[in-house]
Structures are given as C-alpha cells and as structure tokens.
C-alpha cells in the first residue's frame, strides 16, 4: 500500500504550494476602489490539488520503477513499437497509404471548421519539418524561426497589394526571399556557439517583427495588411468553403513534398554531414567538412520552408499583421520539434498535430488553454525528454570485400 511517509511528504508539498501561491491566488486588490478581496477558497483548491497531484506522481514513479526492475530481468533490447513499424516497409507502406487516404478524404468527412483547423495544423507540420533541419538535424538552436515565416507572409501580402501578384507566383519567391535572408543572417552569426546563436536569432526575430510594426509606410504597421487574395485555380471563382478546402489540399501537397524532400536530404551526403556537425564540430572539420557552408545550407533550407508556409498563411487568412509573428510562435515551433523527437520526421508530424490541435480542442477550457499548454510542455519534457518518437536508424547495404570472403567463408 501507499506508505505513510509518502503521505506526509505530499502533505508538506501541498502546504508548500499553498504558501507559494498565497499572494497571487488568494489576495486580489483593487488599487482604485481600494478594496481587498480574500479568496480563501483558492487556497484550499491549491492545497488539495497539489496534494492529489503529488500522490499521483509518486504512484506513477513507483509503478515505473517496479516495471523497470521487471524489464531488466527480461531483455532490455526491445525496440519500441513505433520504431518497429517505421522500420518495416511492409507496415510502413500500408500505414502511410491509410494516412494519406484519410488526409485526402478529410474535407469530405468533416466540417469546414475542422478542415480549417487541420490546415493550420498541417502548416505547422511543415514549419516543424523545416525547423527540424536546422535544430533537430544540424543542431543549430534557432529561436527566431518565425522571422522567416513573417518574411514569406509579408512578401505575399506586399507583392499582392502593390503589384497584384498571384499566390502561385509568390510562393517560390517567398520561399527564396526567406532563404536569402537566412543566408544573410547566417553568415555573420553561424560561427557563434550554441546559446549565443539562440539569443541572436531570437533578437533577429524580434527585430523583424518590430520593423514590421513600426515601419508604417512599408508594412502598414500594427494594423497589418488586409484583403490579400486567396490562391487562384485557373482563374476560377470559388465559394468560401471551396476556398478553404482548396487551401487544405495545397497544404497537404506541401506536406507530402516536404516529407519527401526532407527525408531524402536527411538520408544523403549532406544529411550525414549535418548530423556529424551536431555531434562534433571540430572532428567534422578535420574530416574535410566545411562547417560554415554546411551550417548555412541547413539554416537557409529551414528558412525556405518557413517562407513557403508564410505565403500560404497570408493567403489562408487573407490578413497579416505583426502580432502573428511573436516569439511565442517560434517557441511553439521549436516545441513541436523537441516534443516530437529531434531529427525524426514522424515525431515532428506527431508533435505538430498534438501541439496545434490540442489548444484547439482545449477550447472548452477557454482561458485556461495557454496555461494548460505551458504545463503540458513541462510535463511532457519531464517524462519524455527525448521526444515522443526518436529517429529511425538507417541501415546500409554494402558489398563485402571479395578477397575477405574467400578467407573467411
């Protein structure tokens, strides 16, 4: 049974939290009317809540320990279930086919509202996969990824407003502009080591946002740019619903394209160089890998995808303003990558779907959803620091040396 010692511990924990949250949870002052409200009921809820949670956490940990003990007796090298599915083509192909069918039928099965949310989630899948190249594969901590997203969105908004350029024409332009910006930024900063790079990219993201906010003649400031054209389909006029479905399919196509490209990139000479760079930069250079060039490529490729999604974002919402491109956005995309499992494509897809769909479906919690989001990030990291799905190890086919084979039959 549950030991008394632990109960005592939980009691102490609940007292601690009651103390901790006392000023903010209990007292509410109105500085103008000069009144104080004492909300003692909150204190009770906090104490009770932390007591229950601490007991649950302890039970979970005890169980885990016991299970771990049992597992050691058996065999340790059991591959996780998901890994096995991902490795075996005979599972993977039917599964991908089923997922694809479901994705294609989605607008027919669900409401426009649901389709719209799914579009958003899939956009984050692409953003996550793009950032995954930078952070997950090449190990460059980029906290200003949203800047490139903003570049894509604004390049469509502005080119559409001033020159009437269409979605399909701007889509590659937006991507390229973001990639070029990535190179321009990357050139001076990529020699900084990990956390310095993080704060510089963060600063860079903020600079872009602040410029958009303050340079009114260029970007129309905080009020943003409205009435951006939706994507055209050979000049056809589309109803509102059809427009949403159409964008959904564009995003699905982009997701497929991204997965294909990213998968091939990871599994190439370049992808291996990125991985090696993440593990040991000095050894990498000694092996003849150009550090700066390799990093720059990763950085600008990541930016390219953010630019693409930016264009789609502008076309989808028909409205952009700087408030969409805050640091929180970068943080969410980064969380997708880390939560999903760094470097793992499937992991990132799961991460994006969970993190983006969760707040949507947590709408029932209304104002509590960002609280829950923050809390869940912490809890997920504490219990699964490596992410949900780790990368599948690739195996290679090689020719055994003929002379050796003769010697060792």
């Amino acid at each position: 049974m549950f030991p008394v010692k632990e109960l005592k511990r939980s009691l102490l924990i609940s007292l601690w939290f009651a103390f901790l949250t006392f000023p903010i949870m209990v007292i509410k002052v109105d500085p103008i009317e000069r009144t104080v409200i004492w909300r003692w009921d909150n204190l009770f809820f906090v104490a009770l809540g932390s007591f229950v949670i601490s007991i649950l956490a302890k039970v979970y940990l005890l169980r885990k320990e016991r299970r771990a003990g049992r597992k050691k007796v058996k065999k340790e090298l059991t591959e996780p279930f998901v890994q096995r599915i991902l490795r075996e083509p005979r599972f993977l192909f039917p599964l991908s086919f089923a997922v694809l069918t479901f994705a294609l039928l989605f607008p027919a099965l669900f409401s426009t509202y649901q389709t719209n949310i799914m579009t958003t989630a899939l956009m984050y899948v692409v953003l996550g996969l793009g950032l995954n190249i930078v952070v997950g594969v090449a190990g460059l901590l980029d906290l200003g990824y949203v800047a490139f997203y903003a570049v894509g969105a604004y390049s469509y908004a502005l080119l559409n407003m001033h020159f009437g350029m269409g979605f399909w024409a701007v889509l590659p332009i937006g991507g390229l502009l973001a990639a070029i910006l990535g190179i321009l930024l990357g050139f001076p900063v990529l020699r900084l080591r990990g956390d310095y790079l993080a704060i510089v990219t963060l600063g860079f993201g903020e600079i872009i946002r602040l410029i958009l906010e303050n340079w009114n003649t260029f970007s129309q400031g905080p009020s943003g740019i409205a009435n951006i054209a939706r994507p055209g389909f050979f000049g056809m006029q589309m109803s509102f619903d059809a427009g949403i479905t159409y964008i959904y399919y564009i995003v699905v196509a982009l997701v497929i394209f991204t997965i294909f490209v990213v998968n091939r990139l990871q599994d190439s000479r370049l992808g291996r160089a990125w991985l090696a760079l993440r593990e040991d930069e000095i050894a990498c250079e000694a092996m003849g890998i150009d550090r700066t060039k390799t990093k720059l490529i990763a950085f600008s490729l990541g930016a390219f995808w953010a630019g693409l999604v930016g264009v789609i974002f502008a076309a989808k919402t028909t409205f952009v303003n700087p408030a969409s491109f805050t640091f929180l956005e970068s943080a969410i995309i980064l969380s997708i990558v880390v939560l999903g499992g760094m470097g793992s494509i499937v992991g990132v897809i799961f991460g994006a779907l969970i993190l983006i769909l969760m707040p949507e479906y947590l709408r029932a919690l209304s104002e509590y959803r960002m609280l829950a989001f923050g809390g869940i990030l912490v809890v997920m990291m504490v219990f699964k620091p490596n992410g949900i799905i780790s990368n599948v190890r690739r195996s290679y086919r090689f020719k055994k040396h003929p002379s050796k084979e003769v010697i060792e039959p």
Partner: protein, 300 residues
C-alpha cells in the same frame, strides 16, 4: 546638456534594473548551462507580489516605510520560493536529458507562469503605488534626475556589492564558483551540487524580485506580460557581457541600458528594442563570447 544628463541617468537606471535580472540568468547559465526562460516571469511575480502586498498594506493604513520594507521582503521571499520550486519541478528531473529538453521545459514554465498570473489576477495594467518618495533635497535637479533613479542606482550598487561579497567570500559562494567550473569535480570534493543549484536559483530570483519592485515603482504600473520583454532584454544584456560572467552581466546591462536610452532619446523611440538587439548582434560578431566572456580555447 541637461537632456544628455537626463538620458545618461535614464540609461544607468534602466541598465541597473537589467543587471538585477541579468545576474539571475548569468548565474544559472554559468552553473547548469540553461537559458532559464522562466526567469523573466520570476521577476514579474516579484513585481506582482510587491504590488499586492504594498496595496493591501496601504489600504490598511500602514506607514510608507513599513510598506516598503514588508513589500520588499515579501517580493524577495516569494520570488525565491518560485525560483526554487520551478527549478525542482521543471529542471531538476532534466539534469541528464538532452540539451534542448530543459530549454523547452523553461519555455513551457514561462508560458504557464504568465497565464497563471493572468488568470489569478488580471490582464489589465495595474497602477503601482509610489513606494519611493520624492526627496526634498533632489528638488533642484528633479527635472533631470528623479528620486527613484537615485534610489534604484544606490540599491543596485549595494546589492552588487553584497553579491560580490557573497560569491567571493562565503562558503556557498565558493561552492557556486566551483560548481560552475567543473560539476563533476565539485561533486568529488564533496559539494552538494543540488543544493548549490537551488541556492543559485534562490539568489537569482531574489535579485530579480528586487529589480521587479524597483522598476514597478519607477514606472508606476505593471501587468502579467512585463516579465517577457524584460527577461529577453536582460538575457541579451547577459550575453552581451559574456554569459556566465557576473561582472560581464553588469557591464552588458549598463551598455544596453545606455544604448537604449541614448538611441531612443536622440534617434527614435519606436525602435527601442531594435537598437538593443542590433547592438547585441554587432558585438557578438566582433566579440563572439561577449564583452567580458572568456574567449573559448578549443581543446583538442
């Protein structure tokens, strides 16, 4: 000339507040190598706690001096408690996890604490009671240097001296320096690293709380979001000076505060934060480990 001096003091005030927050970042980074994104929130909680306590006390008619002392103490105590708890819950279990996991945990914690204060209190800007009186002897120069500027500068200087003393001469300070240099070795010579880390969080949070109290009474209003931008600025300052270095954090903060003050005063106030970050990028390009950071010697 008056304008110049006004900007100079404005910059120093701003810089010393950054320094109070930046120290927490730099100490934590120095010891566990984590960008503690929730640190800005700790500062915000410090400001909120002092706001709540001070307002309650003033409603119940306490004298100003008592309000200042009690609110200051309360802010320090609760901020430290939050810092301590955050480390235990969100970072300690991740001590051996991959490098980015604690960072995400910190970002999650930051979002959580922001929304926690938002929900438990309010999203409105709240007027902060004037805890620093206008001194009579400052009257002749009041149009250039306010009394609160003076108080902030003096308080920060005293706190810095105290901190230097703590780190240089006390047992826990020595343990902190040892842990920052080599965690494994520190364990081997019998330092309780967990306790050192907790102490670091507590000290850093207390400093941030003092900063929160000072800035809130200087500006005169607070809301749940003040921690984010102040946190980012302070971290920028810490990196500017060379993250992990305590004098670096102070120097970086002052440089940042002055740059912002002069740039907004002479150039344009719209781009305040752009100046800050551009300065950071420029300095790091020419001095990749910050102003006072040790240039990294590659060990091969």
């Amino acid at each position: 000339m008056d304008y110049f001096i006004e900007l100079l003091f404005g910059g120093l005030t701003r810089g010393s507040i950054y320094a109070l927050i930046a120290l927490g970042y730099t100490m934590v980074y120095g010891i566990i190598g984590l960008i503690n994104f929730a640190h800005g929130e700790i500062y915000m909680i410090g400001a909120f706690t002092s706001f709540i306590i001070a307002t309650v006390l003033s409603i119940y008619g306490f004298p100003l001096l008592a309000i200042v002392v009690i609110a200051g103490l309360a802010a320090t105590v609760w901020s430290s408690a939050y810092g301590f708890t955050v480390e235990k819950l969100a970072y300690r279990p991740l001590r051996k996890a991959p490098r980015l996991a604690p960072l995400i945990s910190a970002i999650g914690m930051s979002i959580f604490l922001q929304n926690y204060v938002l929900l438990a209190q309010t999203s409105d800007f709240l007027p902060f009671p004037a805890l620093i009186p206008e001194f009579a002897f400052m009257e002749p120069v009041a149009h250039i240097v306010g009394s609160s500027d003076l108080v902030i500068l003096i308080t920060t200087t005293l706190v810095m001296i105290g901190l230097t003393f703590l780190i240089k001469f006390t047992k826990i300070g020595k343990a902190m320096r040892a842990t920052a240099q080599d965690k494994t070795m520190a364990v081997l010579v019998g330092i309780n690293v967990d306790r050192v880390i907790s102490a670091t969080f507590i000290i850093g949070s207390a400093l941030a709380a003092i900063g929160g109290l000072l800035i809130a009474s200087h500006i005169g209003q607070i809301n749940f979001y003040i921690g984010f931008i102040a946190g980012i600025k302070a971290f920028t300052a810490a990196v500017l000076g060379g993250v992990g270095s305590i004098p670096g954090a102070v120097l970086g903060s002052l440089v940042l505060g002055l740059t912002e003050s002069f740039a907004t005063g002479y150039v344009s106030s719209d781009y305040e934060d752009v100046f800050a970050f551009s300065l950071l990028v420029l300095i790091l390009i020419f001095k990749p480990s910050g102003l006072l950071g040790k240039a990294e010697t590659k060990k091969v």
